[in-house]
C-alpha cells in the first residue's frame, strides 16, 4: 500500500493534469476550490477521475467540507 505522501503526490499530479496547471503551483494545504475555481460539474468529474486513478469508491458525503489536497489524500488513503 502506498504511503500518504505518495498518495498526495499522485493526487497533485492528477489534479495538475486535470485542471491544466503546473503541479508546483498546487499547494497541498491550499483551498483547491478557490485556487482552481471548481464548479459542481468539475467536482463530479474530479471525483470520477480520483476513483478511477486510485481504484477506490469515494462517497460524495465523505468529501463534503474537504477543501485541501492533503485531507483529500487522507480520505483516499483510508480506502486503499
Amino acid at each position: 500500500m502506498p504511503q500518504l505522501e505518495q498518495t498526495l503526490n499522485e493526487l497533485l499530479k492528477l489534479a495538475a493534469e486535470h485542471f491544466q496547471v503546473p503541479v508546483n503551483e498546487l499547494n497541498p494545504d491550499e483551498d483547491f476550490f478557490k485556487k482552481l475555481k471548481i464548479n459542481s460539474l468539475q467536482t463530479l468529474d474530479l471525483l470520477t477521475k480520483l476513483e478511477q486513478r486510485f481504484n477506490v469508491e469515494l462517497p460524495d458525503y465523505e468529501l463534503q467540507g474537504v477543501t485541501d489536497f492533503r485531507t483529500l489524500a487522507g480520505k483516499i488513503q483510508a480506502r486503499l
Binding site: 460539474l41 470520477t48 458525503y61 463534503q64
Partner: protein, 267 residues
Amino acid sequence: MDSFKGNAISWSLTEGIVELVLHREPCNEIGSVTLAELERFADALENSGPEAQALILYSRLASGFCAGADLCELFRGIQPLKAEDRSNRVRDFLLRIHRVFNVIDSAPITTIAAVHGVVFGGGFELALTCDMIVADQTSRFCFPELRLGLIPGFGGIPRMKRDIGNGLVRDLLLTGRSINANKAAAVGLVSQVVAPGEAFRVARSVALQATKFDRQTAQVAKEFIKPIPYAELQEEIRLFCELMGRPAVEEALRKFVESTDAQPYLP
C-alpha cells in the same frame, strides 16, 4: 415515424433506429416544456410501425445526460399554492411523466440510453426506462431527492429495484451519493462502459445489432424479462405527493435553487 425538432428534445429515424436527443441547457432539466415534447414523442413512439426497430436516448450537451426535474420551475410553480394544491399540481405532472416513461419502458423495440456526465434524479429514472444503459466513463448516477425532503418521483425506485439488489438501492436513496459508471456496471445497472465521448457510437452499434432480430420476438423477450412494476409506480406517486405538501420541501427547494455549492445535490 416523422422527425421532430423541439426546444428541449428532437428525434429522427435512420436505418430503423429512432434517435431521441436531449438538448435543453443547462443539463436537460425536465420541466413543462420537456414534458410536453416527451408526450409528443411517446405518442409518436406508440404509433410507430415496424420501420422503428430500436431507440437510442442521448444528450447533445457536454454537461451530461440529464440532471433530472427542473427544480427552479417546480419551486416557482408551487410557491403561491397551498399544500393541497401543490400536491395536486405535482400529481398531474407525475401522472403525465409516468405515462411517457411507461411508453418508453414498454416500447416493442430495443431501447438504449447512451449516457455521459450527470445522470441524476429524473435523468437516472429516464435512463432506467431503457432496456440497456451504455455509459461513458464520465457518467455519474445519483438519486439526490432526499435532500429535498422527497423521494424519486419518476419511477426510479421501482425500476432500480427491478435491476439491482435492495441493499444498494437503499444506500443510493438514503445517502444521496453518486456512483461512477464502473460501479454502476459492476452492480448491473449499466451494460457497457465505454471511453469518454463514445457512448452514442457504441449505442448505435448495439441498436444496429438489435434491428437484425424479429421485433415481435424481442417484444416477447422484453415482456418476460422486464415487467413494468405498475403497482409500485402508483404507490410512488402517492408517497411523493404526500411528501410534497410539507413546508420542509419548499424550504429545501429554495436552498437548492439558491445554492452555489460545489455539491448542491447533497445536504
